[in-house]
């Protein structure tokens, strides 16, 4: 808990005349789950892409702190270094599992790819790790050699999570991980993510428009609107005692379960 894993400040980016990020700052510490909420077009996915180095901001800086404690400006990292980072200390879970999986490669191969990319060359060891992770995400290890295209949407998403976590990243970016899933499937996935995050001490930066998901998973919440962070703080305080007009609207729009 000594220093943030990721520190961003003064981020600006616009698409034409539309500001997607307007002076955004954000830090995330080890083991912390931070949710970014807001309606579509509020800039939350753009923020995730900028923080993870996939998109370059017009102004501002994102600093990544490596396990040895040294900081690196993400935007100055080379392609190779950034790619390595995305396969080791970072992970990215996409909304659509098709973007994060190879559908023509078996479940075991999907999990194994990250291990092989980081140098694993023992087939038996890779199989064993894949079997353990399938079990962890509640997929029958007997399905290890099945193709993900034969999986349900929820299973595909769980497989994507296994594939991402197998190399024990410290920071995981998640872009609407439960979007597009049935409500019953969502609940199971959310609970799975919650348990994994707690067990592994992961830091997670979660983009979602699902307030209930944010409440369940996140320690801290950022509310975005038109490229600005209009309110942030402890999740239950932001949701139960919203200060900004937009946050009050957002909270009032949620059906109480």
């Amino acid at each position: 808990m000594s220093a943030p894993l990721l520190e961003a400040s003064g981020l600006r980016l616009s698409f034409g005349a539309v500001p997607a990020l307007d002076d955004v700052a954000l830090s995330i510490w080890p083991g912390e789950v931070v949710a970014i909420v807001g309606e579509s077009g509020s800039g939350k996915t753009t923020l995730l892409r900028v923080l993870s180095g996939l998109v370059r901001p017009e102004a501002g800086e994102v600093l990544y702190r490596d396990p040895a404690g040294a900081t690196h400006p993400v935007q100055a990292m080379g392609d190779a270094a950034l790619r390595r980072l995305h396969r080791t200390d970072w992970g990215f879970v996409h909304q659509n599992p098709r973007d994060g999986l190879r559908l023509g490669v078996s479940a075991g191969g999907n999990i194994g790819e990250r291990l092989m990319a980081t140098g694993a060359r023992h087939y038996g060891g890779i199989r064993q790790a894949a079997a353990e992770w399938l079990q962890r995400v509640e997929i029958d290890p007997a399905r290890m050699d099945a193709l993900p295209r034969t999986f349900s949407g929820g299973m595909q998403q769980r497989l994507q999570i296994a594939r991402t976590l197998v190399t024990h990243p410290r920071l995981v970016f998640m872009d609407e991980p439960t979007g597009g899933l049935d409500v019953s499937v969502q609940a199971r996935l959310l609970d799975l993510i919650r348990a994994l995050v707690a067990d592994l001490g992961l830091a997670v930066l979660l983009v979602t428009h699902d307030i209930a998901a944010a409440r369940l998973l996140a320690h801290r919440l950022l509310v975005m609107r038109r490229g600005q962070v209009v309110e942030q703080g402890l999740t239950d305080r932001v949701l139960d005692d919203p200060q900004h007009e937009y946050t009050q609207l957002l909270v009032a729009s949620v059906l109480a379960a």
């Binding site: 609970d191 209930a212 402890l234 305080r237 139960d240 005692d241 009050q248 609207l249 949620v254 109480a256």
Partner: protein
Amino acid sequence: MTWSLRTEGLGKAFTLHLQGGSHIPVLRDVGLAVAPGECVALAGPSGAGKSTLMRCLYGNYGAGSGRILLRHGGEAVDLAAAEPRLVREIRRDTLGYVSQFLRVIPRVPTLDIVAEPLLARGVPREAARARAAALLARLNLPARLHGLPPATFSGGEQQRVNLARGFAPHYPVLLLDEPTASLDAGNRAVVIGLIAEAKARGAAIIGIFHDTEVRDQVADRLFEVAPMPDASPAPGAEAPAAA
């Protein structure tokens, strides 16, 4: 007097942007101090802001003005000004809260819900589960229910799960919002016993007890929360806010 929790000039008002920006003051200049081993019952008419005060004390509502001082890890910290990460740490180690309603986490078995705050403090899994099971048994929740998620439990059963979760970690400061509301006489007695033990351990307890019989048995004194002049009832005064 030594204190575990103390407020100074605590005030709270709500601005409802969706209702024309109406400004509703609920608390003003609240000065409450609770000593270790002391139980203070909040008193006052319905709508006076007792629940709002409780929620401010837990950091669930942000304080509008003033300070909320807590003894946390040997130091005095101001909860009203604490960063979210410090609030989480305070809630993990120092400050417990038993609300009226259990916020159910889907699919998580009862035993794990109760053991979770212990695990968060680093108690080994088996020890945490053992303590959780013992506490649930004491609250007369049959062992066959411990492995089930409490979503389908009755109100009283859920209340007891909530109580077990609140009492298991032995917080130095414990907030109790109507802890016996849905309990029968037998379980009320168990809760009275738990409160007495917590006080004996040196815990400072602040509670809202509508059940005067329970209140008289556990509270060392009353703290009057006075309604604000010409204020309509606060949105969060009695019922939990939306979402």
